[in-house]
Subunit: 383 residues, 2 copies
């Protein structure tokens, strides 16, 4: 149920004809209130898509009534015409719902550098508005998929209130923000400032620590809507924890469904001087094509881990690093450790633990292996 599990929300998915496959491709999530708080985070890519530019503005006052999303086209690198198309989409949604266009968030995903077929988008606005339902979450989650093989949804329930979310994303998955669209809803009674802080805290430790392929998108958007419809108040920590739980589940689902991947890899850095350095070191490993190809080949090639760690500026003594792969201490003091043949890389989940012996900070970044299928899917991309 995800985005409609919280009270005060309706959602829908429909088929507007944007995808060659004929699958559903437009979704609408509406917040019926009584509150209409919104928080959002966007890609840090300077080449941002038209809907990102629009939506930054739309959420800046902390209020939003609806989110319209389309797959089958990113509306990125489409210049002034692309921005006009997004603006027109928001106006249409606003007219249909009877709200202000500036309270409509717009998200797009698909191929970069192509104009949206606006007559189909326009039809899609009508179709989704007609289909809005308090159990429409599954349809919406399905409509935003591109190369995703399954819809991603998560819900957590608290005493009298809940948080639910849906996400899409299977490639171009790298922070800030993995490449993705995500809508999270809650019926807790809160305020826009608390909501904003909760979302930033949640994404920093979840979506921002997924790095499937090192490629940052132009369209990443995470929107959090709060209706207050439960009538239940919760303190900031409770809200943050629940939102984080939903984001963590969705982030993990993104990794599990990444294009062509055969392993999900958690790179955990321990005993770093700072959390930022732990992330920097983990990230250098999650971006090593050689390490990722080795894991695909079920080769616990810890030399490639150390080669990646050595490219960073983090505080450590290059001669005292330890590395364990799936519990086997294959590298001890930056040299040969236990027998690498002891490592079992048959399971899909792989855990690499790097100990820097430089402090007390720790961080985990998730990635995938580099496979033939990844190359195949991304050399023949079509939404």
């Amino acid at each position: 149920m995800s985005v409609t599990s919280a009270q005060g929300f309706r959602a829908a998915g429909a088929t507007a004809g944007l995808k060659a496959s004929g699958s559903s491709d437009v979704a609408l999530v509406v917040n019926d209130g009584p509150d209409h708080h919104v928080a959002a985070v966007f890609t840090s890519n300077r080449v941002e898509a038209a809907p990102v530019t629009w939506s930054r503005q739309a959420v800046s006052d902390g209020r939003a009534d609806a989110v319209f999303l389309n797959s089958g086209g990113a509306n990125a690198c489409t210049g002034a015409r692309g921005f006009q198309d997004t603006h027109r989409t928001a106006e249409l949604v606003a007219t249909t719902l009877g709200c202000s266009a500036l309270d409509v968030v717009v998200c797009s995903t698909g191929l970069i550098g192509e104009f949206l077929p606006m007559e189909r988008i326009e039809a899609g606005v009508g179709l989704t508005a007609e289909a809005l339902a308090t159990d429409g979450a599954d349809d919406a989650a399905r409509a935003i998929m591109t190369t995703d093989s399954v819809p991603k949804q998560a819900t957590v329930s608290r005493d009298g209130w809940s948080v639910g979310g849906m996400a899409k994303g299977a490639g171009m998955l790298a922070p800030g923000l993995a490449t993705m669209l995500c809508v999270v809803t809650t019926d807790v009674v809160t305020d826009a400032a608390t909501l904003d802080a909760a979302l930033r805290t949640a994404t920093a430790s979840t979506f921002d620590r997924v790095d499937s392929d090192g490629c940052m998108s132009t369209n990443d958007t995470v929107v959090l809507l709060a209706s207050g419809a439960s009538g239940v108040q919760a303190d900031a920590d409770e809200v943050t924890a629940a939102v984080t739980e939903v984001c963590a589940s969705l982030a993990r689902q993104l990794v599990a469904d990444a294009e062509g991947a055969s392993h999900d890899i958690a790179v955990e850095v321990r005993s770093a001087a700072t959390e930022l350095e732990a992330v920097e070191v983990a990230r250098s490993v999650t971006r090593s094509n050689l390490f990722k190809a080795a894991i695909f080949g079920k080769d616990p090639n810890w030399g490639r881990v150390l080669a990646a760690v050595g490219t960073t500026d983090a505080a450590f003594d290059p001669t005292t690093i330890d590395v364990a792969v799936n519990g086997v201490q294959v590298c001890r003091s930056s040299s040969v450790g236990d027998d690498r043949d002891l490592v079992d890389l048959e399971p899909r989940e792989v855990r690499v633990v790097i100990d820097l012996h430089a402090g007390d900070a720790t961080a985990t970044v998730w990635t995938n292996d580099l496979t033939h299928e990844y190359v195949h899917e991304n050399s023949a991309y079509s939404t």
Copy 2:
């Protein structure tokens, strides 16, 4: 002839049994003088191999008599024992040749995290010393190959003097320094300081601008030896130009032979504010797996170029970038340009030109496409 084309040098390659394939795996290059100047640059990876640690020290006084190289084992991440092995190798070479161990540069390449079989290395020192010849360059160039499919050699002749070089490298190719071992020799009469400046200038615009797979090695070494045996003097600019010409040829050969690649891609950034920013932008594109996979699929996916450019901090207006692929202006002012179907990606060489409209600086970084073969070779690595 490469490293023995200049007067005053002998070289050899031999089979010491380090490679399972039974191919030659040890090489020796000797400078018979009268000068014994040396300059060298090494990997900037903080996790550096034992031979790199040794050789930094060996060249620090500007003098070297010989370079001993082995493939079939990187002697990286091998701790104190690894350093002792390198030290012992240098001592053996020195004893055999009658020089000081501190004038022997040692280079290793192959799998990280394994100890060298020292009895075979010791035998290899004897075998190469016996085989030293003034026409031994081809044998030496062949003995340092790992996953290289062909030896890489280059020679330029000037009026009475010459520069020649050999290199190996086919994966873990990223700057500072592409992953590689390279020995360059010259018989020009010069001094150690001039030689050092010439080598740094040459590598900065050649090897440092090859980025096949974004992975920096633990063993990269480029050594330049000068014998003065021609008796001909040349000014610093002439020496720099000749060394650069040899390095450029070798760097281009590395790209052409990169593991599993089907396209060589030159990413040229024009009108950047500074050369450093031009390199930063070019590098962001050469490290985009999505862009590289698209080129493998012969898809001129300029959206992935812009998505990569947008992740950098270089000066530019994100709405005014132009991109041409093989002469077709597929992106104009960060939006849709000429028909992407006009781009011919059948040829192996691909040229991507990115115009930032932000200044007068330009730079080109070379990379390869991301192919099934790259994944295959690197998921089943063996030297």
